[in-house]
């Protein structure tokens, strides 16, 4: 199966890249844009018994390495079987 992990800075942690991108979008005329966040996507193939097991494994990987729980939150998607 295919795992996709989305990692973003937590709400309340200053995302300076997001702020800079937001200012640039405003500069291009999209004044209606707000709360831009820049994150990271990590994808990989995974052999797991079922989607539940895969989600548990990937969450453990996020807690150990893929995200830093002090500053980041993550969302896991599992596709295929």
């Amino acid at each position: 199966m295919k795992a996709t992990v989305h990692v973003f800075l937590k709400a309340g942690v200053l995302d300076v890249q997001g702020k800079a991108v937001e200012a640039a979008l405003h500069g291009l005329g999209w004044a209606e844009v707000s709360d831009v966040r820049v994150g990271r996507t990590i994808t990989f193939d995974l052999n797991a018994g079922d989607a539940e097991e895969a989600k548990r494994d990937v969450a453990a990987m996020c807690d150990r390495l893929l995200a830093n729980p002090v500053i980041e939150s993550y969302r896991v998607e599992i596709e295929g079987s």
């Binding site: 942690v13 200053l14 300076v16 890249q17 800079a20 390495l65 893929l66 830093n68 002090v70 500053i71």
Partner: protein
Amino acid sequence: MKAAVVVFPGSNCDRDCKTAIERSTGARVDMIWHKETALPAGLDLIVLPGGFSYGDYLRCGAMAALSPVMPAVAEAAARGVAVAGICNGFQILCEAGLLPGALLRNAGLKYVCTPIALEIANLQTRFTAAFGARREAIMTIGNGEGHYFADDPTLDRLEGEGRIAFRYLANPNGSARSIAGILNEAGNVLGLMPHPDRSFDADLGSADGALVFQSVMASA
């Protein structure tokens, strides 16, 4: 007196640290490749140097925190050996869980490289005792991700327990409570964004960094 500098792939201040410690204290300094799983016996100081370990992949310090040498560093820290993480070394100590918090992209988005004035926030630590009654020091910073972050309860605890060792007099990067350097609970692990290794001789603009290494060796 004996010190070790850990060398990660991408470290670039490792030799500066060796020279700085040798000239400041006369200690013997071993360079330890990150793949080692044991450290030399009888160390008084372990330094994790600045640089861009693993190219800052994933997050600064995240990959180095999982290097084979790190369990030995954690074990030495637990035994009370002085450990100093400078710049990237500070990021590695946070990622390894040996210090609380994390280091974010600088608030101004820029890499900041400049001599900077620091307040010595706690003069009674293993890393600051040699400053005597001096409250201020000049050291050089050079980082893009030196913006210290921790949640408010953690920051309150650091302040309440005297674990903020150094603060910026003029905050260059948005660091919470102007933090430039913090200690672990036992006081033997220091994370420091400014570089004592770039400020250990008057010819470099400041010799104040030498006092950090001299403090450690005086307590050894």
